[in-house]
């Protein structure tokens, strides 16, 4: 029992290490003044008010939400079709290729991808560089593993092959099969994948700063500029982004209570 409480203590200390900076930032975002003191002095909503009144931040947030939502949609489509194919075809080389795709965003760092995109989509007279559509393409690739992984785990969890055999023998057409069996059973993986994909795209900076232009700046890009405004403002701007990530993440846990299938079995880790 002593051992158990030791583990618990270590775990809680780790938790503290993770959330201390976040909490500090939240406190800072409500502080009137924070300079040279341990914690900020005064209490104010001014920073948030300022944040929402500045068109640049609001527009960037909208842009981020738009790109993130579309990233989720596109990735859901790509992932469902490819995960199904890879699983059903059950070819060794395909599975290995798939395992590698899951590692691609780490194997090809964002800066390399960004550099490539900037050069590949910049033709004389017509350039996609600086558009949000290009960022969307980049984010689809960047977040792909976070959709593929839980879906693949999900496929294995439900033992798809016999389910498909059963459905086919009962006379299901491919469409009926996809609609009534495949998608409903992939829902847990789809939800946890979507949430993670959404959170990743929302916070992504390294690609966005290279690929977007003045009209397509996303929130993290303008956030960088907020750092130079004032501590309180920077804290507020960061807190907003962080909160959105955390709310998404804990959405996964919430969903697992709603859906009977346990999401945590398929939820991610990359």
């Amino acid at each position: 029992m002593i051992k158990k409480s030791l583990f618990l203590t270590v775990g809680i200390m780790y938790l503290f290490f993770i959330i201390a900076p976040i909490i500090l930032m939240m406190i800072g975002s409500f502080g009137e003044k924070w300079f040279g003191t341990l914690l900020p002095t005064g209490f104010t909503f001014e920073w948030y008010a300022k944040l929402f009144s500045r068109l640049m931040y609001v527009r960037a947030m909208k842009m981020s939400l738009q790109v993130a939502s579309l990233t989720v949609l596109i990735n859901a489509f790509l992932a469902i079709s490819s995960v199904y194919a890879v699983y059903v075809l059950n070819k060794d080389w395909l599975t290995r290729a798939f395992d590698f795709i899951i590692l691609l965003p780490i194997a090809v760092p964002p800066v390399v991808m960004g550099l490539g995109l900037v050069q590949a989509f910049n033709w004389p007279g017509f350039s996609l560089v600086g558009t949000w559509q290009l960022l969307l393409g980049a984010h689809v690739i960047f977040t792909m593993p976070f959709m593929l992984k839980p879906l693949m785990a999900n496929m294995e969890l439900i033992g798809w092959n016999t389910l498909e055999d059963a459905a086919l023998s009962l006379g299901a057409s491919p469409l009926f099969l996809a609609r009534k069996v495949l998608v409903p059973n992939l829902l847990p993986g789809l939800i946890s994948g979507s949430i993670m994909t959404f959170a990743m795209s929302l916070g992504e900076f390294q690609l966005a700063v290279m690929v977007t232009g003045s009209t397509s700046q996303t929130y993290p890009v303008v956030l960088y500029q907020a750092f130079y405004v004032s501590t309180g403002f920077a804290c507020a701007a960061t807190t907003l982004l962080v909160l959105m990530s955390i709310v998404s993440l804990f959405g996964v846990i919430g969903m697992s209570f709603i859906f009977r299938t346990r999401i945590d079995k398929v939820s991610l880790s990359a």
Binding site: L24, M113, G116, A120, I141, Q206
Partner: protein
């Protein structure tokens, strides 16, 4: 199976997306890196070793990545064990907390460390109040590569934990018990049982950490601007600075991608072969 030929069509969308947004750009980067002033040459690559900035940035990146990977591994292993042992319910909760840093952009991590350890950061001032440590002197390290190391650990340790957690739960503890009951000494247990059992996961985890820190630049950008010259940051400045010569950036990018891909292939090899038996 015969009836399943059409299923390959379902792989078309993802293949197209990967080809257009990843493969083609990368091929372009590679091709461009082979040209200098309109002519085919390896000058971009040779200059990597001649020009101080490039050589230095490669060295800094390698040192930074190696030390963060090492530290992250050493800290991550006991932490993951503690999490593994902390009871079913707590573990689920702690693991979701653990995933938080993964969704943060490097920017956020950089900024939160300024708030924590910067010149007027919370921890810095705490040290000043209790131990009289000069804030300026203390926080100076944050804006060097050592500071980067600390900040990187914030999003690297969670990855190590994620890799190890499955290794702990897949570990065959009866093997360990058997060894101990047969009178094996601590060294035998460590080298004959524990390391073969956990070695692959540890190796996979640390190569993942290495590759991740090799490729990241958001945190460094937020913390130090472009003061600490790590490889991805140098590439980035070449892109934003229109005057700079982009072919040099291309060759740097190729080198960077080679390193990360190599390390990731190692990871994949170790991980998919030894841990995830299909």
């Amino acid at each position: 199976m015969e009836r399943r030929g059409w299923i390959y069509i379902l792989l078309l969308p993802i293949t197209i997306v990967l080809a257009v947004f990843l493969l083609w750009p990368f091929v372009l980067v590679f091709l461009e890196s082979l040209f200098s002033e309109g002519r085919l040459s390896l000058v971009n690559y040779t200059s990597l070793f001649i020009k101080g900035l490039y050589r230095e940035s490669l060295a800094t990146s390698l040192i930074l990545s190696f030390s963060t990977a090492l530290l992250g591994t050493l800290i991550g292993i006991p932490l993951s064990y503690a999490l593994h042992k902390s009871g079913r319910k707590t573990r689920g909760f702690l693991l979701s907390i653990n995933a938080i840093p993964l969704t943060f952009s490097g920017l956020v991590v950089g900024f939160s460390f300024i708030v924590l350890l910067g010149t007027s950061g919370f921890f810095t001032l705490l040290l000043k109040q209790f131990f009289g440590i000069n804030p300026l002197e203390f926080s100076a390290f944050l804006f060097t590569w050592r500071g980067l190391m600390v900040a990187y650990l914030y999003f690297l340790i969670p990855r190590m934990i994620l890799t190890m957690i499955s290794a702990w739960s897949n570990a065959n503890w009866s093997l360990l018990e058997a060894a101990v009951s047969l009178g094996a000494g601590p060294f035998t247990v460590l080298f004959k049982v524990l390391l073969p059992m956990l070695g692959p996961a540890i190796l996979a985890g640390s190569s993942l950490l290495f590759a991740v820190s090799m490729g990241a630049y958001g945190t460094a950008f937020a913390l130090t601007g472009v003061a600490v010259k790590i490889l991805p940051l140098v590439i980035f400045t070449h892109v934003s600075d229109l005057a700079a010569d982009i072919e040099k950036a291309d060759s740097l990018a190729v080198v960077l991608a080679l390193v990360t891909t190599g390390v990731i292939l190692l990871y994949e090899q170790v991980f998919s072969r030894k841990l995830v038996k299909r």
